[in-house]
C-alpha cells in the first residue's frame, strides 16, 4: 500500500514557483530520502503534505485525501519540523502529554506513550525542564519524541539531525532504523547525504521544484554513480594507451585513475591493455562514487 501518494503537486509563492508538478509515492514501510540543495522545494513539499500550505494537485495519506479527509490523514503522520516549535509554557513531559492530547489519545494511552517516549529518547532526566531551557540537541530529541508520541504510521523528518553532535546523531540513526524495522514509513530530508545513504532505501533527488532522480538506492547508485578504477603500476602508463568511451582518465606518475560508468565491466580490458604494453600492475582498486558525489553532480548538472 502507498503510504503517501502525491499527484501533480504545484506550489506557487508570490514571485516564484517552489514546486513544479511533482509526482511521486512512498511505499508503506519504506525509508524514503528526500534530498536537494537549499531552496529545492523539499520543505515546501513537506509542508504541503502536512497541510501547512495550500497547493494545487492531490496528496493522499494511506488513501485519505489530506485536504478533504484531513482529520484521518493527520492522525497517521508524525512530523518533526526543520524549525523548532516547542511550546514555551510547557516542560518536556507536558509538551509530550499535550501533543498526545491534541492527537486525540485517551488518558491512559497518553500516560503510557509519554513514558515510553521519555525513555526511548533519553529525556527522563529532563522531564521537568521547561522546553526553553533545553540545549539544541535536546530540543531536537524532544521534537522527535513529540512526532512519535501518538504512534503514527508515517514519520516525516525535516532536517532532524541539524544541531546534533556526532554521538547523538548516531543514536538517532540507530533509533530510526529500529522504528523503520518496526514497520513505520519514514520520509527524511537531510543535508548530510551520508546520513541518507546510510538510512534510506529509496532516494529522491529534487532541485528547483522538480524531481531529478528517484529510485531504490541500489538502482540510483548503479545508474547514476560513476566508478573509479585506481591502478598502480611499476612505471607510468602512457596517456594515449587506454581508450575507453565516456571515461575520464587521470594520470599521476605511476597512478592511473579511470572514472566513468560501468568501469567494472571494462576493467578487464583496461588491465589487459596495460599488461600488453609491458607495464607491471602492482595494485588495483575499484570503488563506487558516494551518493554525495552523485548528488552534487546531478544537482549542479555537471
Amino acid at each position: 500500500m502507498q503510504a503517501i501518494e502525491i499527484k501533480n503537486l504545484k506550489k506557487d509563492y508570490k514571485d516564484e514557483q517552489a514546486v513544479k508538478d511533482m509526482d511521486f509515492y512512498i511505499q508503506e514501510g519504506d525509508f524514503f530520502g528526500f534530498i536537494g540543495p537549499n531552496g529545492a522545494g523539499k520543505t515546501t513539499t513537506i509542508q504541503c503534505i502536512m497541510g501547512l500550505l495550500k497547493f494545487e494537485g492531490s496528496i493522499n495519506i494511506f488513501g485519505n485525501d489530506n485536504v478533504k479527509d484531513y482529520i484521518e490523514a493527520r492522525k497517521l503522520i508524525g512530523f518533526s519540523p526543520q524549525e523548532e516549535n516547542l511550546d514555551p509554557f510547557l516542560n518536556v513531559e507536558q509538551a509530550l502529554h499535550f501533543t498526545a492530547g491534541y492527537y486525540g489519545l485517551k488518558r491512559e494511552k497518553i500516560k503510557e506513550r509519554v513514558e515510553l517516549m521519555l525513555k526511548d529518547f533519553g529525556l527522563e532526566k529532563h522531564r521537568k525542564k521547561n522546553t526553553r531551557a533545553l540545549s539544541g540537541g535536546m530540543k531536537r530529541r524532544l521534537l522527535l519524541a513529540r512526532s512519535l508520541v501518538h504512534d503514527p504510521k508515517i514519520l516525516i523528518l525535516d532536517e532532524p539531525t541539524a544541531a546534533m553532535d556526532v554521538e547523538l546523531r548516531q543514536d538517532f540513526w540507530k533509533l530510526m532504523k529500529r522504528i523503520n524495522k518496526e514497520g513505520k514509513t519514514i520520509m527524511l530530508t537531510s543535508h548530510y547525504i551520508e546520513e541518507v545513504e546510510q538510512l534510506c532505501n529509496t532516494i529522491c533527488i529534487v532541485n528547483e521544484g522538480k524531481i531529478l532522480a528517484m529510485d531504490k538506492k541500489e538502482t540510483i547508485m548503479q545508474d547514476l554513480s560513476n566508478q573509479e578504477l585506481k591502478i598502480k603500476s611499476n612505471k607510468p602508463v602512457p596517456k594515449d594507451l587506454i581508450k575507453v568511451e565516456a571515461c575520464k582518465m587521470i594520470h599521476d606518475n605511476t597512478t592511473t585513475l579511470v572514472v566513468g560508468k560501468d568501469i567494472r565491466k571494462k576493467a578487464n580490458d583496461i588491465i589487459k591493455t596495460i599488461e600488453k604494453a609491458g607495464i607491471k600492475i602492482e595494485e588495483i582498486d575499484i570503488k563506487n562514487e558516494s551518493l554525495e558525489k552523485v548528488f552534487l553532480r546531478i544537482t549542479k548538472n555537471e
Binding site: 502536512m50 497541510g51 501547512l52 500550505l53 512530523f79 519540523p81 507536558q94 499535550f98 489519545l105
Partner: protein
C-alpha cells in the same frame, strides 16, 4: 469532531493562565478594587439612574474586565502561538478549525469567568450586589466573551508584531470601554455625546450587564440585545470562516 483535541487545547489555555496569574488574573481584580475604593470615598452619596454610585459601578467594572480578559486571552495566546510557530503543531494535528475556534473562545470565557468571580468577591467589601435578572447577566457575559474573544483571534491572525496588539488595545478597546458608560450614566452627558455613545457597542454590553445585576438600564434594552447579538454572531462567523480558509496561517 475529535473531542479530546478540543479538551486539550482548552486545558493548555487554562494551564497558560495558571502560569501567568500575576499578569492575567490579578491586575483586573486589583484595578477594580482601586476604582471601588476611590469612588466609594468620593461619590458614596451620589445616586445614578436610581442606584447608589458604588452599586452602579460594579457591573461596569466587571464587564470592562470581561471585555479585556476575553480579548487578551485569545489575542495573546494565538499571537504567541504564531510567534513561536507552535500554531504549526496544532495545525498538523487532527484538530478541526471549529474545534480550534471554540477551544480559544471557551478558554477566553473561563478566564473571564474567573476574573468576574474575583471582582465580585472584591466588591463584597463595599456592597452586596443583588442579581435582578440572571438571564441578562449570562446573556451579556457570554456574548461579550464570544465577541471580544473573536476580535482577539482576528487581530492575532492579522498582527505581525506584539506592538500591533498593543495599538488596538490602546487606541480602540480602552477608549471604547472608558466611553462605554462604565463610570457614568449617559443621561449625564450632553445630547450629542449621548447619540455618539449609542454607536459604541461596548455601551450595550455594559448597560445590559447592569440591567442583569441592578435591574435598571440607561439605554434601550431591546436594541441593545439585538445589536450585541448581531455583532457577536457576525464576528464569530467571520472568525470561523477565516480559520477555515487558514487566513494568515496557511499560505
Amino acid at each position: 469532531m475529535s473531542r479530546t483535541s478540543f479538551a486539550y487545547i482548552v486545558k493548555r489555555e487554562l494551564y497558560r493562565l495558571y502560569t501567568t496569574l500575576s499578569q492575567s488574573l490579578f491586575p483586573p481584580i486589583i484595578s477594580s478594587l482601586l476604582f471601588l475604593t476611590i469612588f466609594n470615598f468620593v461619590l458614596k452619596d451620589k445616586s445614578t439612574i436610581g442606584a447608589p454610585f458604588t452599586e452602579f459601578l460594579v457591573p461596569g467594572l466587571i464587564m470592562m474586565a470581561v471585555i479585556n480578559s476575553s480579548f487578551t486571552s485569545t489575542s495573546f495566546s494565538l499571537f504567541l502561538s504564531k510567534w513561536t510557530k507552535q500554531i504549526q503543531l496544532i495545525l498538523t494535528t487532527p484538530t478541526s478549525y471549529l474545534e480550534l475556534v471554540s477551544a480559544y473562545l471557551v478558554g477566553a470565557t473561563l478566564r473571564s469567568l474567573l476574573v468576574s468571580i474575583g471582582i465580585f468577591l472584591v466588591t463584597l467589601l463595599f456592597v452586596v450586589p443583588s442579581v435582578a435578572h440572571l438571564w441578562a447577566l449570562l446573556y451579556y457575559f457570554i456574548l461579550a466573551c464570544m465577541l471580544f474573544g473573536s476580535i482577539g483571534i482576528i487581530l492575532a491572525l492579522k498582527a505581525e508584531t506584539f506592538e500591533h496588539l498593543g495599538v488596538v488595545t490602546t487606541f480602540f478597546l480602552t477608549p471604547l470601554t472608558m466611553l462605554g458608560g462604565v463610570f457614568y450614566s449617559i443621561k449625564d452627558l450632553p445630547i450629542w455625546f449621548q447619540k455618539i455613545t449609542l454607536l459604541n457597542p461596548v455601551f450595550y454590553f455594559v448597560d445590559g450587564f447592569r440591567y442583569g445585576l441592578l435591574g435598571v438600564t440607561d439605554g434601550p434594552l431591546g436594541i441593545g440585545m439585538a445589536v450585541t447579538f448581531i455583532l457577536t454572531a457576525t464576528t464569530v462567523a467571520v472568525v470561523v470562516y477565516l480559520m477555515k480558509i487558514g487566513w494568515k496561517v496557511r499560505y
